[in-house]
C-alpha cells in the first residue's frame, strides 16, 4: 500500500491505464489514510465513505483520487467554506472546476479544511479547527488552503484543489514543501466557488511535483458560460520538459527580496538563483516600485469585495439561522451573522464595509484600485525585459500555531510576496526550495498573463535540479 502512496498522480494515472493497479485499490489506499487522519492534521472536513462509481476508463485521469478545498460546491457533499454559517450545507450543484476534473476521470476523495471563507494565512480561522503542518505538528500549514496543502504533503491525497486570492495556494504550498500554482485570473471558471474576493479568486492545483500541476491545470482551464470573467486559454497546457534554462531571463524584484525576508529563506533563495545561473539563465535585479504598496491595496480591495459577497449569508436561503422569535427581520440578520461568522471574517467584513462606506470610498477603495493599476503596470514593464520574475514565496518558514493569531497585521504580512501577482492577475507558482531549520521553503516564479507553459517548464527544470525530497512528511 505504501508503494501506491509514493506514486505521483501522473504515475498513478499511467499505472491505472496500463492495468498495473486498480482505481479501487488506489482510492481505498488514500481513503483509509485520509479517514485515519482525523484530528491529527485535521486536513479534511469530509472524507468519502466508500469507493466511488467507476469513472470512464479511457478518461485521461481515470481513477486518480482528488481532494477538494471545502469552498468548492460539490453536489450533495458538505461545502461549508470553513464556516459555521454554512454548517451542514450540501449544495445542489457542483463547481465547474470540480466537474471538469470529474469528467477527466478524477474521483472525489474528500473536502479539505480551510480558513473560514478563505480569509487567513495559517488555517487557524476555520470553524472546524486548525490544520497542522505535517513537517511539525506545532506549526501552521499556511492558509487559506491549509487542508489541501497538508493533505498532499502528508500523502493523504495524491493532489488537491485550492484557491488563491492573495497567496492562499502558493504560501501553504511553500510552508508544506509541495508545488502550488495560481493560474492567470480567468483561466479557470469560478462558478461554484464560494466567493471571497471575486476580482482576485482563482482556483489552482496543489501537487507533489510540477508535472502533476501541469496535468491538473490542463483539465481545468477554459471558458465557462457560467463565469463571465473566465477566458479561453490560448494554448494547450503542455507536459513540462527541459534540461536547462539557457536563454531564460529572470528578474529579481528588489522590493520583494530584501527587508522582512527571514535569513534562512533568503539563503535558500540566493542558492537557487545561483543554480539557475549555472543552468544557463541570466539573473538580474529589477524594480517593482509599487509592490511595497500592494499589500495595503489588497487589504482594502479584498475585504471590500468580501463584505459585498458575504452579504448573502443572512439566514434566508441556506445555512444557519438564529431564531429571534419575534417578528424582527433585522435582528434575525444581525444575530445570524454575529453567531455564524468567526473573528477574522467579521474583521474583514468591517474593514471592507468601512472602506466602501460613504465619505471613505474614494480615499480607500478608489485609491486602492489605482494602486492596483500601478502594480500591474510595474509587472508589465518588468516583463518587457524579463521572461519571468522570481521571489521567495513567503517571508518565513511555517510559524507556530497561535503565534500570529492575535496580531492581524503580522498575519497579513505573510502574504507580502504573493499579493502583488494576485493584484496583477498574473500566474505564479511555488516550488519546494529545500529546508531551513528542518522546515520547507518555497521559491516563487511568476510570468505574464497566460504564460503558464513557460512558467511550468522553468519550474520543472529547477525542480529536477533541486531534487527536493518530501517523503519524510508522508511517513
Amino acid at each position: 500500500m505504501s508503494e501506491l502512496i509514493e506514486l505521483t498522480a501522473a504515475q498513478a494515472a499511467a499505472k491505472i491505464r496500463g492495468g498495473d493497479i486498480s482505481a479501487a485499490e488506489l482510492f481505498e489506499a488514500y481513503r483509509a489514510r485520509a479517514a485515519a487522519d482525523g484530528d491529527d492534521l485535521n486536513a479534511f472536513t469530509w472524507v468519502a465513505d466508500g469507493t466511488p462509481a467507476e469513472s470512464t476508463p479511457d478518461a485521461p485521469l481515470a481513477g486518480v483520487p482528488l481532494a477538494v478545498k471545502d469552498l468548492f460546491c460539490t453536489e450533495g457533499v458538505p461545502s461549508q467554506s470553513g464556516s459555521k454559517i454554512l454548517e451542514g450545507y450540501r449544495p445542489p450543484y457542483t463547481a465547474t472546476a470540480v466537474a471538469k476534473l470529474a469528467q477527466a476521470g478524477t474521483t472525489l476523495l474528500g473536502k479539505t479544511n480551510q480558513d473560514e471563507f478563505a480569509m487567513g494565512s495559517s488555517n487557524e480561522n476555520s470553524a472546524y479547527g486548525p490544520v497542522r503542518n505535517p513537517w511539525d505538528r506545532t506549526r501552521v500549514p499556511g492558509g487559506s488552503s491549509g487542508g489541501s496543502a497538508a493533505a498532499v504533503a502528508a500523502g493523504l491525497a495524491p493532489w488537491a484543489l485550492g484557491t488563491d486570492t492573495g497567496g492562499s495556494i502558493r504560501q501553504p504550498a511553500a510552508l508544506c514543501g509541495i508545488v502550488g500554482l495560481k493560474p492567470t485570473y480567468g483561466a479557470i471558471s469560478r462558478y461554484g466557488m464560494i466567493a471571497f474576493a471575486s476580482s482576485l479568486d482563482q482556483a489552482g492545483p496543489f501537487t507533489r511535483d510540477v508535472t502533476d500541476a501541469a496535468l491538473l491545470l490542463r483539465h481545468m482551464v477554459g471558458r465557462d458560460d457560467r463565469d463571465s470573467t473566465s477566458l479561453a486559454f490560448p494554448e494547450e497546457i503542455a507536459t513540462p520538459q527541459g534540461v536547462d534554462l539557457r536563454g531564460l531571463k529572470l528578474g529579481v524584484p528588489e522590493e520583494l527580496t530584501g527587508e522582512g525576508i527571514e535569513s534562512g529563506v533568503r539563503e535558500a533563495f540566493n542558492a537557487t538563483l545561483a543554480l539557475a545561473e549555472q543552468m544557463g539563465a541570466s539573473v538580474e535585479t529589477c524594480r517593482l516600485p509599487h509592490a511595497p504598496h500592494a499589500l495595503n491595496a489588497y487589504y482594502l480591495i479584498a475585504p471590500a469585495e468580501a463584505s459585498a459577497n458575504l452579504a448573502r449569508f443572512d439566514g434566508v436561503r441556506y445555512g444557519l439561522r438564529v431564531d429571534v422569535g419575534a417578528d424582527d427581520l433585522t435582528s434575525m440578520y444581525t444575530q445570524t451573522r454575529e453567531a455564524g461568522f468567526g473573528t477574522e471574517v467579521k474583521r474583514r467584513i468591517m474593514l471592507g464595509t468601512y472602506a466602501l462606506s460613504s465619505g471613505y470610498y474614494d480615499a480607500y477603495y478608489g485609491r486602492a484600485q489605482q494602486v492596483r493599476t500601478k502594480v500591474a503596470d510595474d509587472f508589465r514593464a518588468a516583463f518587457e525585459r524579463f521572461d519571468l520574475l522570481v521571489t521567495p514565496t513567503a517571508p518565513s518558514v511555517a510559524f507556530r500555531l497561535g503565534e500570529k493569531i492575535d496580531d492581524p497585521l503580522a498575519m497579513y504580512l505573510s502574504d507580502v510576496c504573493t499579493v502583488p501577482m494576485s493584484l496583477a492577475g498574473i500566474p505564479a507558482i511555488s516550488i519546494p526550495n529545500g529546508v531551513s531549520d528542518g522546515l520547507p521553503v518555497g521559491f516563487q516564479l511568476c510570468g505574464p498573463a497566460f504564460s503558464e507553459n513557460r512558467l511550468l517548464s522553468a519550474a520543472y527544470v529547477l525542480e529536477q535540479a533541486l531534487g527536493f525530497d518530501g517523503s519524510t512528511a508522508r511517513a
Binding site: 452579504a311 468601512y354 480615499a363 492596483r372
Partner: protein, 95 residues
C-alpha cells in the same frame, strides 16, 4: 483611527450584532490595520485609472434567452424556513 461610534455605525451597515468586547477589539485592531493601509495616501496617483479588470476584456454578453435553472424545490431545499413558493423570513415590521 476608527473609534467606537464608527465601529457601531459600520457594524450596523454590515448587519453584525457585535458584542461589547468585539466593539472594543475591532476599534483597536482595525485602527492598527488602517494605520498601515493609509500609507497608500502618500502615493501620487493623479490621472491613474482604477483597475476594473486585470485582463483586457470587453463586455461578455450572451443572448437574453430563458434557460433551465434549478427546480424550485431543489433551490428551496437548503433554506432554514422553506415555504410553498419561497423563503420564509420574520416580518420586518418590528424594526
Amino acid at each position: 483611527m476608527i473609534d467606537r461610534a464608527q465601529v457601531l455605525h459600520v457594524a450596523k451597515l454590515a448587519r453584525l450584532a457585535l458584542s461589547e468586547d468585539e466593539v472594543e477589539r475591532m476599534s483597536r485592531e482595525l485602527s492598527a490595520v488602517l494605520d498601515h493601509i493609509e500609507k497608500i495616501s502618500e502615493l501620487k496617483l493623479d490621472g491613474v485609472a482604477p483597475t476594473s479588470h486585470v485582463i483586457d476584456v470587453v463586455n461578455a454578453l450572451r443572448p437574453d434567452e430563458p434557460r433551465p435553472s434549478l427546480p424550485r424545490d431543489v433551490a428551496l431545499a437548503s433554506a432554514p424556513e422553506p415555504l410553498e413558493q419561497g423563503f420564509g423570513v420574520p416580518s420586518p415590521g418590528a424594526s
